[in-house]
């Protein structure tokens, strides 16, 4: 919404209007500089037809390369004759009166101003020198320029700033007062204001390096990482939902926390980049390095019914490439998806060659509407890891106790063991894996049933399956070590199948048509009958001790009770062999024992049948465990078991709650990449291989040609872009505008740097010092340029409205997150828990429902409850990308649907409404009022002073204090007369107001706090 009436600009001088029209950088005098003065004109007005893109080039010449421009065009004319503007066709054409020949042509909707024409003329007259585009040549660390006011610079960077100011005949501003300075730097480094105590300490610190000490304290604060992460998360397009169509929940916050940790432990920025681009390809990557690769999974994704997977795949990879281009290279590579770049020397081939590095995710690019579309990694919180370790210890301790000597129980066990005293005769033991000879003679209550073994599939046509014997069928004994040859020549052996539990249908037998064999032993202390139930898909043969008991050849699906049999078991081991015949389709079986007898594993039975003294330690343990688990009677034991079960359950719960996070993992064989004609997913052109753009220095020959090689190439000192791009973003963060204002575009269409030598110096210095972020940030904030007061005279403002020359300190509105964090912090509400799942503080009802798909799991907003969740730092607020929180959106925070490296800073009435009326901010005002009454002293004046100081970080002046006191008193009178209004006001928010405080007083202080929290100086970082 716009504020102003058009009448108001009537008083402007002509000069100011002209200045506005030519852009925001103050004009310069002196010789023509190609990069600064000429290339921007050629790029914007001429390159579209006479630039890098071959397909759209007209008249056979290009103006981005000297050789072509000074040679002959198709017409034979010479576009540019160096030193002679009048012999240059270019000048003739741009100055022609004839619309049909004048350049740029009318249909381009571009035109040259008289100043621009004059610049081109002078440039040609001065010899028409070309320079490579500034950002494509490596940065050089020039010596800092000499300055007249030698006492002013504190850091090397100040010399560059000052030299420029001196050239412009401007003087830097004085240093800001110490109160402003501490608030500025505290907000800039931690996203929160200083406390009054911190302010007092700072003001009382008379040491010459008091400010530097404060900076070091702030850099060491964990809040530093939380604050720095925000900017990166805009660039990385981090969100808590998928962003497209259903916009379901995506569990991705461990990546957000990784970014916070990375800044806090001052991970060198080159490693920061490498780990995010290619952590998975590092040698033995740590979990942290894998979490970092989430950078390339943060893009929006979909699972919309009807979408074409190939199109989704291409869209996802294109997003990765474009984000890579913007964040790492500062180039608009997205333009080359469809055609060669019109302004920069980037080709469509370059684009798809980069595409080839990012196109081989080992997972589906469709998100399945799942929170954890593969590949993902488990990312336990530190407290979860700690709790799991504790629980594992408790479980181990309980298990040890369960297995330890326990006199009362051991006596019980000895009684119980008497039933297993005698030995079984050694028969049928062979090689069949049967238990040892000793089996209890009088263990009549126990059935020892072994687990299943399986061998197969023996393929054969149906009639042979029915008529022939296969594999182990008909053998005297079953030898579990025996191998069988299949028709295919493959050799197979018996395989243990503990997962085939009784009483269920198992439909996982292979082969079609084919036979499979199942085998197990049943050992008993004396002869007995045993009823069993069977099912089969399709036919079945059952052998007991080599005797065929059953044969059916039905075609059917397996189910319970299709066959019932009574096995006549002999004493000792019995061998049960089952053949399942599959005639067509799936194959499976069912098996169950119909008995009330306890079933005991044969190894336990065998061990129990030996005298205690003769058992091995393992056997003793086995028997004791079985006894204590099944037969023992003891209250103490029961209690221990109950406790153990509870601990185990908690372990499962904690383990289940461990988050996963999306990571990047490379396929074993990378997918091929093709040029896509016009950028369309189904229009394959030539296949391309992985390579870096040809306009930049090549990758080292020895480097792996994959994402890791790409990432290492990126941060190699030879690459002219990434360090400049990174340093510029940090500069933007601390000075409001980047040295290159177009943070996302360092190409020909981007804006040239205001201080090119400074940008280069900082970039090289950054690399030389190991990409040390904290060091760079420190350098910026201790500089004299940073410390200047922001006070501005009308003359200076008119001269440099955007403060590109830095003749004053930067002053700008706080970002969305800082506004809310500051309000919560000043009012004492902020919960400074770090990390973990995103939280949903309250927001007006209906915002998600208004847009959400009925079937989405984020269609209905349910606010979190409780101080611990409602009052976290805004970094942790849940971002639903198709309906972002109004506290963010209203203050220019991006929706995180795509990569953003520079936020706008608007100033709108909707922002005023939010800060005045949002229940979260009203609650903050009330809590600040409570603090004021509790901590501010007894007199109204003392309290007003406390309130003002807490919010602004400074002492009120006399008139301010009296205004605030008057405000309080007037509202107090109002609320005394309107007790119900007071009650209503202080009931705002999720926390209850202190009952002991006088209601009208609290309401009056709340309104005073509402005033203070809305002040320009409070919502602004000065």
């Amino acid at each position: 919404m716009a504020r102003r009436g058009t009448l108001l600009i009537a008083s402007l001088s002509i000069a100011a209007v002209a200045f506005l029209a030519t852009g925001s950088l103050p004009a310069r005098a002196g010789a023509i500089n190609f990069s600064r003065d000429v290339r921007p004109i050629l790029s914007d007005k001429c390159f579209a037809c006479h630039g890098p893109e071959a397909a759209s080039r007209k008249a056979g010449f290009r103006l981005d390369e000297r050789e072509s421009a000074v040679g002959a065009a198709e017409s034979g004319m010479t576009p540019i004759t160096p030193g002679d503007p009048d012999a240059s066709e270019l000048i003739a054409r741009i100055t022609s009166e004839d619309e049909s020949v004048r350049m740029p042509p009318t249909n381009s909707h571009k035109s040259l101003t008289p100043e621009e024409i004059e610049t081109l003329r002078r440039w040609i007259a001065e010899g028409a020198e070309w320079q490579a585009h500034w950002s494509f040549t490596p940065p050089v660390k020039h010596d800092p320029p000499a300055v007249a006011h030698e006492h002013w610079p504190r850091e090397t960077l100040d010399k560059f700033i000052l030299a420029r100011l001196e050239r412009e005949q401007l003087a830097p501003a004085v240093e800001a007062d110490r109160v402003t300075l501490l608030r500025r730097v505290t907000l800039d480094l931690t996203g929160l204001p200083p406390t009054p105590a911190e302010m007092d300490d700072f003001l009382a610190d008379n040491r010459p390096d008091a400010y530097e000490r404060a900076v070091d304290r702030l850099l060491a604060s964990p809040r530093f990482g939380e604050h720095m992460a925000r900017f990166w998360l805009d660039a990385a397009r981090y969100g808590d939902t998928h962003g497209l169509h259903l916009d379901n929940y995506r569990e991705m916050w461990p990546y957000r926390d990784w970014v916070v940790r990375a800044f806090n432990r001052n991970l060198p920025f080159n490693e920061f980049i490498v780990e995010q681009l290619a952590g998975d390809l590092l040698p033995s990557p740590t979990d942290e390095q894998l979490i970092a690769t989430g950078f390339n999974r943060c893009h929006v994704s979909t699972n919309e019914g009807g979408v074409i997977p190939e199109e989704v795949y291409v869209t996802a990879v294109v997003d990765r490439v474009e984000t890579f281009g913007t964040v790492m290279l500062g180039l608009t590579v997205g333009c080359t998806r469809c055609h060669d770049h019109k302004y920069d020397p980037l080709t469509q081939g370059d684009f798809y060659s980069l595409f080839a590095y990012f196109n081989s995710l080992d997972g589906n690019e469709m998100d399945g509407n799942r929170e954890d579309p593969a590949p993902v990694i488990r990312a336990p919180l530190p407290e979860q890891t700690a709790r799991l370790a504790e629980l594992d210890q408790q479980i181990a301790a309980a298990e040890t106790k369960l297995a330890a000597d326990w006199p009362e129980l051991d006596a019980q066990q000895a009684d119980w063991e008497r039933q297993f005293v005698s030995a079984v005769e050694p028969e049928n033991v062979g090689g069949s894996g049967s238990p040892p000879e000793a089996v209890a003679a009088n263990s009549k209550d126990y059935l020892a049933v072994s687990e299943w073994h399986w061998v197969g599939p023996f393929s054969d046509p149906e009639r042979y399956l029915k008529s022939k014997k296969h594999g182990p069928e008909g053998a005297e004994r079953i030898d579990l070590a025996e191998k069988f040859k299949l028709a295919t020549g493959e050799e197979v052996g018996w395989v243990r199948k503990p997962e085939w539990v009784d009483g269920q249908v198992h439909n996982d037998l292979p082969g079609d048509p084919a036979a499979n064999f199942l085998f197990r032993t049943i050992t008993v202390g004396k002869p007995q009958d045993l009823e069993i139930s069977l099912g089969s898909d399709d036919g079945i043969r059952v052998y007991l001790n080599n005797e065929l008991l059953l044969q059916r050849d039905d075609s059917r699906s397996a189910a319970a009770d299709q066959e019932k049999l009574v096995l006549k078991l002999k004493r000792g081991e019995n061998r049960l062999l089952v053949k399942i015949l599959n005639f067509a389709g799936q194959s499976g079986f069912y098996f169950a024992v119909k008995t009330d007898q306890p079933i005991m594993p044969p190894d336990v039975l065998a061990a129990a049948s030996r005298h205690a003294a003769e058992r091995s330690a393992d056997d003793a343990k086995l028997v004791r465990q079985f006894f204590r688990n099944t037969a023992a009677r003891s209250a103490a034991l029961d209690q221990l078991r109950t406790e153990l079960a509870a601990v185990r359950k908690e372990r499962t719960d904690v383990d289940t709650a461990v988050a996963t996070t999306l990571i990047f993992k490379e396929m074993a064989t990378p997918k091929p990449s093709y040029i896509l004609n016009r950028g369309e997913y189904d229009q394959h052109g030539a296949e391309v291989t992985r390579r870096t753009p040809t306009m930049l220095p090549p990758m080292e020959a020895a480097a792996p040609n994959n994402r890791l090689g790409l990432a290492q190439w990126l941060v190699s000192p030879a690459n002219p872009l990434p360090a400049r791009v990174a340093v510029n973003r940090f500069w933007q963060q601390f000075f409001g505008v980047g040295l290159v204002k177009t943070t996302n575009d360092f190409g020909a269409q981007g804006e040239a740097p205001s201080h090119p030598e400074l940008l280069d110096w900082l970039a090289v210095d950054f690399m030389e010092h190991g990409w040390d972020v904290k060091r760079l940030v420190r350098e910026l904030v201790v500089s004299a340029a940073y410390r200047q007061t922001s006070h501005v005279s009308p003359e200076l403002y008119m001269r440099d409205p955007e403060n590109r020359l830095l003749a004053r300190g930067a002053r700008f509105r706080l970002d969305a997150e800082m506004l809310r964090d500051q309000a919560l912090y000043s009012s004492g509400l902020l919960v400074e828990k770090m990390g973990g799942p995103s939280v949903k503080p309250p927001q007006p009802a209906g915002l998600w429902e208004a847009v959400g798909y009925s079937g989405s799991n984020t269609v209905k907003f349910v606010a979190d409850e409780g101080h611990e969740k409602v009052h976290r730092r805004t970094l942790y607020t849940f971002i639903k990308r198709t309906a972002p929180p109004p506290e963010m959106n209203t203050f220019d925070a991006p929706s995180r649907e795509s990569c953003i490296v520079r936020r706008e800073r608007t100033n709108t009435p909707l922002q005023a409404l939010l800060l005045l009326n949002d229940p979260q901010y009203v609650e903050a005002a009330r809590s600040l009022a409570e603090r004021t009454m509790h901590e501010g002293g007894d007199s109204v004046e003392q309290r007003a002073r406390f309130l003002f100081q807490t919010a602004t970080c400074r002492q009120p002046r006399v008139d301010e204090l009296s205004d605030l006191v008057a405000a309080y008193e007037q509202e107090l009178e109002h609320f005394r007369a309107n007790a119900k209004a007071a009650e209503e006001l202080i009931a705002s928010g999720s926390l209850k107001a202190d009952e002991k405080l006088d209601r009208p007083e609290l309401a009056a202080w709340t309104m005073a706090a509402n005033v203070v929290l809305n002040l320009d100086e409070v919502v602004t970082r000065n």
Binding site: A2, R3, R4, G5, L8, I9, S11, A16, F19, L20, S24, H245, D247, T302, G305, G306, V307, P309, L331, G334, D344, D682, Q749, V792, Y797, R811, P844, A845, A850, V851, Y853, S856, A883, P884, P886, T890, S895, E897, S898, N907, T908, L910, L913, L914, L916, N917, D963, A967, E971, H974, A981, A982, E984, L985, S988, M1007, N1014, L1015, D1016, T1020
Partner: protein, 493 residues
Amino acid sequence: MSASNPIQQYASALTRRHFFGQGAFGLGAAALGSLLPSSIFTPGVALGNSVAAGGMRDLPHFAPTAKRAIYLHMNGGPSQMDLFDYKPKMADMFDVDLPESIRKGQRLTTMTSGQTRFPLAPSKFKFRQYGQQAAWISELLPYTARMADDLAIVKTVWTEAINHDPAVTYICTGNQLPGKASLGSWLSYGLGTMNANLPAFVVMTPSWSSKTDAQAIYNRLWGSGYLPTQHQGVALRSQGDPVLFLSNPPGVDAATRRRTLDRIARFNHRTLAEIGDPETQTRIDQYEMAFRMQTSVPELTNLADEPQHILDMYGPDALKPGTFAASCLLARRLAERDVRFVQIFHRGWDQHGNIAGDLPLQCQDVDQAAWALVQDLKQRGLLQDTLVIWGGEFGRTVYCQGGLTRENYGRDHHPRCFTMWMTGGGVRPGMTYGETDDFSYNIVDKPVHIHDLNATILHALGIDHTRLTFRAQGLDQRLTGVEEHHAVTDLLV
């Protein structure tokens, strides 16, 4: 506030400081109003024909035929051959396979690309010709039929996108991927606001009646993309505050709020005097506008002054908050207040199945209300400079998705042709534009790409779509993309 206009901001600050004198802050913000044109400070009153605040200096590019627009977006893809695109030959081809010569390998969504047959599903609804122009309109839209001679019906709109999210993002922002500026934000950016007390771009998201899951919409459809965020659409809500955080907190009445604002202004004026940052002046002004919105918005949404015969026009839902009818009535009130662009997103038009059950419900939601809106604008003399647009993000297939009977069927997404209508604001009334083949599958005459449609809307508002640009991501971005597209001037007078 646009950071691109610092001089203008500063000039504004200087001018005000000149009025007040450096020390005269005691005047209080309330007094500010009296020094400016009174209309700006009268709640809900438009600035007048010639005055617009903000906007680009070179706009309009030529004389507009519309000052404002109302866009009725039917989200999900209304079935053109059941509503407007009458295909009598289909009646004899029930359950016949769609000829390959018609489909021509056109890509299909994966919801039907696996179907072994593409059986034709003739519309079960009756069509008749209406008005002087003898336009064919289905029995589902009896009110729309009554205004046939007001409408320019375009049967040949087309798009490339075949799924909802990309398609609706495309038609609303000119690109299938998130991140671009929406139509309304372009209008706000380019033309500015005509009402100082209301946003230039207002969005409503009413309820709908079809029974199956409705497709999602997204804040980005009215987002500002790379344009400054003050140009994004402001949701006018039917639940809670009509504009977010419009109401004062419980216990705070208007007088208390006024006192609060005066105090804030006093402090802020001191800050301005001390530091001299024009942003401070802007903030003072924005707080004043916020206060005025607290009056102008409730006055806008309070329908108590609407006479019964007007409510009757809009139908039984006119007073039910959050319905399409209530939204249309509000749209008229917004047009009266010179709000530049109103967009109503009516969801639920995605009939993959059960057209017989759901399509009539959807039509019932919108038919009478859309008619009433047009008639109401007309009788107030507003239609002549208000452009009204009706339509979805794509059309539906003539072949059936799922079970096919004479009585019921479903249709998949169809991008190659669909029907929209426009009226008012310079639109040539009483015409049907473009022709599709006998299957409503391909366009045979006068295709209108969605970029052409958007160019046409801009054209009506006095904008050459190739010249309304914003430099972002290395390009002069525009609503209609980088390829060549044209306003369909045949649709305009």
